[in-house]
């Protein structure tokens, strides 16, 4: 359980304390992950099924690694086609998998709300690994973790655990196709609950109607969005959106909303870090120099992703005891 919740379908339903409890547990998980022998028996005998209806190497591998470090059995069920074209409904697929007695069902699906649909109909726990343009809660949590880690270090406490209170009052700019981004939405909920301010930036065609209601300010000029920000999160520009038509092309996008070294040097504060949920379109939203530069915490995000997903699986699969207490 994550607080009152048996499922993790988004960060919107979680309270601040529930979010912090997952993040705090992720701190001990990260410690496990960094051991020479990274295996604890915490979830031995538990089964995790990764049910992926959308291509995703990164997130699936991250969940799989998280499950294995905790000694859970991880099984992948990948379907490149949507349930509709396959002739079996999502509910049927989920019930079939449920009959195999998994403890946690991790679902990625192109339709917003698909994990909720499954959660309402199965007895095991459901974790969303990203649904449509709705939420990507584990990504939101790993972003919060990464930001807190950075802000804690900035406050001169490099050796201590991340202090999640450091997010309060910070400003985070999220730049890109917000309308199609589940990452942006999970971050909006998470950052808002931890007291950070969010600026959203992109061409008006990529800013969904009414997003301000989630507590963000909206900018159309990149400079106005990133100046003075404590962190900038660049979203992936998906090539299939170009014909939508949301933008005329990547060349113009990159010129106005992409971040390169020159803009970063002129507009960003010295301590501002850059995040990206991956995979990066190098040269579109981020130039290679910025993606690989000193401000980038992109690989920290990947590492923290495993730790955060270990925490999620631990809490939902009902780990037997505190993992920190078990020495490998």
């Amino acid at each position: 359980m994550i607080g009152r919740h048996r499922h993790l379908t988004g960060l919107e339903p979680l309270s601040r304390d529930e979010i912090v409890s997952v993040l705090q547990l992720a701190t001990s998980m990260k410690e496990v992950l960094r051991r020479p022998i990274k295996k604890v028996p915490t979830l031995r005998g538990k089964a995790v099924v990764n049910l992926f209806f959308e291509a995703s190497t990164r997130t699936r591998t991250s969940f799989e690694t998280a499950a294995k470090v905790l000694s859970a059995d991880a099984v992948n069920w990948t379907s490149s086609t949507s349930s509709v074209t396959k002739g079996e409904t999502l509910v049927d697929t989920a019930r079939n998998i449920e009959a195999m007695h998994p403890d946690v069902l991790v679902i990625r699906h192109p339709a917003s709300g698909a994990p909720q649909l499954v959660a309402d109909r199965v007895s095991c726990s459901v974790v969303s690994a990203g649904d449509g343009a709705h939420e990507h809660p584990s990504q939101g949590l790993l972003d919060l973790y990464t930001l807190a880690e950075h802000f804690t270090a900035q406050a001169g406490k490099q050796d201590g655990p991340p202090d999640f209170g450091t997010l309060a009052g910070k400003t985070v700019a999220i730049v890109g196709d917000v309308s199609h981004s589940r990452v942006a939405r999970s971050n909006l909920h998470g950052l808002g609950k931890l007291g950070a301010k969010v600026r959203l930036c992109g061409p008006p065609t990529m800013i969904p109607q009414g997003i301000e209601a989630l507590g963000a300010t909206v900018h159309h000029q990149l400079r106005a969005a990133v100046e003075g920000a404590d962190a900038v999160m660049m979203l992936r520009i998906q090539h299939e959106r170009i014909g939508d038509p949301l933008i005329p092309g990547t060349r113009e996008y990159s010129k106005f909303w992409g971040l390169n070294e020159k803009k970063a040097a002129e507009w960003l504060t010295p301590s501002c870090v850059i995040l990206h949920p991956g995979p990066i379109n190098r040269g579109v939203e981020l130039s290679p120099e910025v993606a690989d530069g000193e401000r980038s915490v992109i690989l920290d995000q990947v590492e923290n992703g495993v730790a955060v997903r270990m925490a999620i699986l631990y809490l939902l699969a009902g780990g037997a005891q505190e993992p920190a207490a078990e020495r490998a």
């Binding site: 349930s83 917003s112 709300g113 649909l117 709705h134 939420e135 939405r185 997003i211």
Partner: protein, 434 residues
Amino acid sequence: MTSETIFIEGGRVIDPASGTDGVRTVVVREGRIAEVGERIERPRDARAVDARGRWVVPGLIDLHVHLREPGQEYKETVETGTRAAVAGGFTAVCAMPNTVPVNDNTSVTELVLARAAAAGLARVHPVGAISKGSKGEDLAEYGELRAAGCVAVSDDGKPVASSALMRRALEYALVFDLPVAVHEEDLGLVGKGVMNEGPAATRLGLKGAPAASEDVMVLRDLALAELTGGRLHVQHVSTAGSVRAVREAKRRGLRVTAEVTPHHLALTDEDVARSRYDTSFKMNPPLRSAADVRALREALADGTLDCIATDHAPHSAVEKDLEFDAAANGIVGLETAFAVCLGLVREGALSEKRLVEAFTASAARVFALPGGALARGAPADVAILDPGLEWRCEPARFLSKSRNSPWKGALLVGRCTHTFVGGRLVHELSKGER
């Protein structure tokens, strides 16, 4: 049976067509309204129906119902649909033509009418297609459809994308005095939208269809109605923009009428969010914003929107127990319409008289249908409604074949207890449920 004399006594008769509102006795003789009056002595052999504490109204008329027969009998049939209708107090329903095959020819019209006659429940007025196969290409045969019994034409479920075809439909229908009923939606603007565009869709990550996708088509068709002098009926109006356009067009004397559904009057897109992707909240047009709902309520009260129509759209779990994106549009409405709309009266948005009028006389006028009034000599289509009856909406107990209702589990107030069609008692709520 119809030769029996029935005295419906002690009820509050609300008959907006005649202006009657008060405790009266309705006398039904040989299937027709014989008299509506005070203190009428009941002969010993007449049957008495005690309506004390309840409303006695003309049978409700629904201009927009999907009976699914022929072709999708697993969702609904003429029989089950009209059974649901009379349970909701409706004595006449207009059957939309988007059956399989489409009702664009007399054999489908005749089949629907034959099934309705065999069921012997509510009256069924078929609506023919605007275009052959509702494909939006060629005009259907309005003259034949009219002669076979169609009361209007519509390609409901789909907009008439071609402005040229729409113009010709309005013109051609004039010969047969058929209203052209339109489902207004600019498919390009809708794109892959599955709910109203706005903050709720944004939070849910669902693609939105802007209110403007309806407004632009309403504005186009009003311009075409003006060009042709045709009879335009705007189906299931859902936006403040449509309301403004229709109001202005009526002021200028255009021959336009409009309907609104109970769900668009009662629910908003925030209810979709609260439901957590419940596909019983997915319909087309989608549930709109609170500001749209306010505009619809005002427009129904002031007559800009003529009548209430349910857009009763039965679907099975096959179409509904899916991802929100993949689920079919539509909800059932016949058995909940009165209770849901009575809620507007309690909220002060609508008078009792206007509520009844919007379900009866106004609806009849739009398609020039018989009924809608308790007129002496007219067939006795009468509903007795209990405005105080509380009941739990349990879709499993619906008389419709389908269960897709956003009110499942809700406590509703107001229910039909008796329905007479042509003087025959075709529905009586069981004693246990009263």
